[in-house]
Symmetry: C2
């Protein structure tokens, strides 16, 4: 298969449920967010959550479905006074694969529903992976 | 669109070029690797790299193309003496979306070729994103 035509498909694991309704309301990064909400994971992935406990920090990968995939240069943090840079030297949600990576504190876990703190993504954002923080 | 049928496609940005030839040779994590190699990015994404400089630490997302997508419980770090846990409570490459996240030191950058230190993935692994480390 030619490299350029290989396009792996992602599985959606679940969705964010929180009160951030628009990108303009979202914190610029998890490191400056204390927003609380839920990761609602589909039941078929329940087994994969065993071992996650309240008090842990998890790394969560989101599919930033509202972000452009065709822009390669941006003003860092959206600040027009900073010259444009390549998206790969920023944390902009705008990038060829709009994947967001956040480190979140687990407050509670109830089956497939994780209450977490530090959210910087909007309600209904798809979740594509969860890992332990190194 | 029903949640379960939404399957975003990833764009491959380039490939790893290093001397790790098999999974058994690969370090268990970037945090215990001093392996040096190259991120070879396709020319169409050159603009996105502007701003990355030697000495920086970048977060790189890989598509772990050799990993199973159908296993939800594993022995952490492959150690059989540790009871199985859910993949989302580990850093196992085995998971529904086999995305690896590494933090790598940039040693040199020459156009679309980045020499990096800390690699824990095998030669020819697809690269799907690069971000600044927070």
């Amino acid at each position: 298969m030619a490299a350029e035509t290989m396009q792996p498909s992602l599985k959606i694991l679940g969705f964010v449920n929180n009160d951030i309704r628009s990108l303009s309301e979202a914190p610029k990064g998890y490191d400056e967010s204390d927003r609380i909400g839920y990761l609602e994971i589909f039941t078929e992935y329940l087994e994969g959550l065993k071992g996650i406990e309240a008090g842990q920090t998890i790394m969560v990968l989101f599919w930033l479905h509202e972000s452009s995939r065709d822009i390669l240069k941006v003003h860092p943090r959206g600040k027009r006074e900073i010259p444009k840079r390549g998206v790969f030297s920023t944390r902009s949600p705008v990038r060829p694969n709009p994947i967001g990576v956040s480190e979140l504190e687990v407050l509670e876990i109830d089956g497939t529903r994780l209450k977490v703190k530090g959210l910087d993504v909007v309600d209904t954002t798809p979740i594509i992976d969860i890992k332990m923080k190194i």
